[in-house]
Symmetry: C2
Subunit: 140 residues, 2 copies
Amino acid sequence: MKTPAALTEQFRSQGLKITPQRVAVFDALHDNPTHPTAESVHSAVVARMPTVSLRTVYQTLNDLAEMGEISRLEVGTGSARFDPNVEEPHHHLVCESCGMVRDLHVEVAPDLGDDVPDGFEVAGAELVVRGRCRSCADKD
Amino acid sequence: MKTPAALTEQFRSQGLKITPQRVAVFDALHDNPTHPTAESVHSAVVARMPTVSLRTVYQTLNDLAEMGEISRLEVGTGSARFDPNVEEPHHHLVCESCGMVRDLHVEVAPDLGDDVPDGFEVAGAELVVRGRCRSCADKD
DNA sequence: TTTATTTCTAACAATGGTTGCAGATTGGGT
DNA sequence: ACCCAATCTGCAACCATTGTTAGAAATAAA
Ligand SMILES: [Mn+2]
Ligand SMILES: [Mn+2]
Ligand SMILES: [Zn+2]
Ligand SMILES: [Zn+2]
């Protein structure tokens, strides 16, 4: 994801308006490695601007995802996670106990070869490695 | 997943009762390669037993998943998909246009090596290949 | 700066998928 | 056939997300 300043520029150049609510969402996402849910982005934003609605956070997240500035992940933890790291191709590691999501910089170059039906246009592949993180394992 | 007959045996041996509703769900799943949603399992069941509730279908699917007889997939198509093929380790191919899910028998042996944080217990890895199936591509 | 245009926000309602609950029903051992 | 724990149904509640819209705010024009 671009910096909040660069995003401000980009939004304006597309005829979109810069509101303090949007900037607050940009700030909450910038350099955020936690793969937050919409809810947790909202919490972070509300800490500074108590009136911002969850609806507005969703709207901005969707806008950013449509522009390709963030990506939406569905890792089976109930709600979607948002990832500002779109520059660096990577996969994910998920703790099934606490829901933590971490980047996984492994190469997955499956030889899809024969098993992809003829005519299927592959757009991308995502690997999710599941397990239990250390702090969760230590808990019992 | 075991055969409906074997599941009947297994349920009984665990003190669970065999009801026609449950058997209908077993039948709907047996050798079903479509990765159905709860809703579509329900449709199939209702075709033969019109009074079976969606609640009961969910209940049985959850029971089977807990026993490891089927697996629950979250591939980002809105609702969960259920997969009776737990014998053969495999991954999935998803059409982002129509929601079709197909088995993908590729080897994904990521060298997780360095990138897994110390102490993380890996339980498994799932690859989802996304794209567009032929019939969807042909449509436009 | 004032006004006009256009977009955005907040609040609330609605949706789709899934689960919790209570009371009626039933499987299966006796 | 009887009994009772297990199960089923129908419905309400729940959660994550999206639709709606009137009024507020940001930008453009004057
Ligand atoms: Mn990531
Ligand atoms: Mn499968
Ligand atoms: Zn954990
Ligand atoms: Zn398709």
